[in-house]
Point group: C2
Amino acid sequence: MKISDVAKRTGLDAKTIRYYESIDLVDSPPRRENGYREYGEQGIQQLGFLRKARKFGFSINECRALLALWANPNRRSTEVHGLVTEKVRDIDTHILELKAMKKMLSELLVQCPDDDNPNCAIISKLAEEQE
Amino acid sequence: MKISDVAKRTGLDAKTIRYYESIDLVDSPPRRENGYREYGEQGIQQLGFLRKARKFGFSINECRALLALWANPNRRSTEVHGLVTEKVRDIDTHILELKAMKKMLSELLVQCPDDDNPNCAIISKLAEEQE
DNA sequence: TATTGACCTTATACTTACTATAAGGTTTAC
DNA sequence: GTAAACCTTATAGTAAGTATAAGGTCAATA
């Protein structure tokens, strides 16, 4: 299977697939006589795994750990559980930060006249002295 | 005022301040005889503005626009309002994405035994064929 | 006075996770 | 036969800094 077909099947871009290979995230597939990459089921599955893990928000390095756990028949599910628990905490923190930003901006929005005059609570707030 | 004092007053790192200067986000301050940057009130205020705008989630380029609006006495508050409205929408989208991720991961977490066995719903999910 | 430590300066490389570009070789369809 | 659509590599760009190296300066102490 050629790289573009793998791209279609996994949902990854061909460039992303080459990139993952370049950083040794996935094994280098064998090559055809003309130099083209020839993927087998295993390579395709690894890439599909990566696609999903990335969509779940795992970083490349976390994906590296997940791939290793996947490949390890002696893994302990608690390791995976720990990794994911931490990720959920990260996401929660991130959500709280974004909500705080949104709240502040929304409060300022209602105070901004939204007209042709220069006065604007948002600009004033940003220009304020001190925190 | 020297750069480290400006850093303390604005909450920005001295390196970040130099970086902002290097990308022409802020004006270059005059120099002392020894080559040290010497900041005046105006420079300090610009940097304080930037600090807050960045904390509100605006990108460097958005900050560029906000700084220009701030400096422009003929600005129309509706321009600022538009920028901020869009930012709030971005934040909302982002929050929704994170919540979706969190939901999926949380659902998988309760299905993962969290013990010494290799079986794990999370790994299985990632390894699944098809979306 | 010498030296130590805390500053300041610049230039360059690293980070994350790709994406874009250039410059070229190959395959396929008409 | 040739043009489009692939494939290859190497290199540079993106965002927003952070880290490092290599050096100059300043203030306090021994």
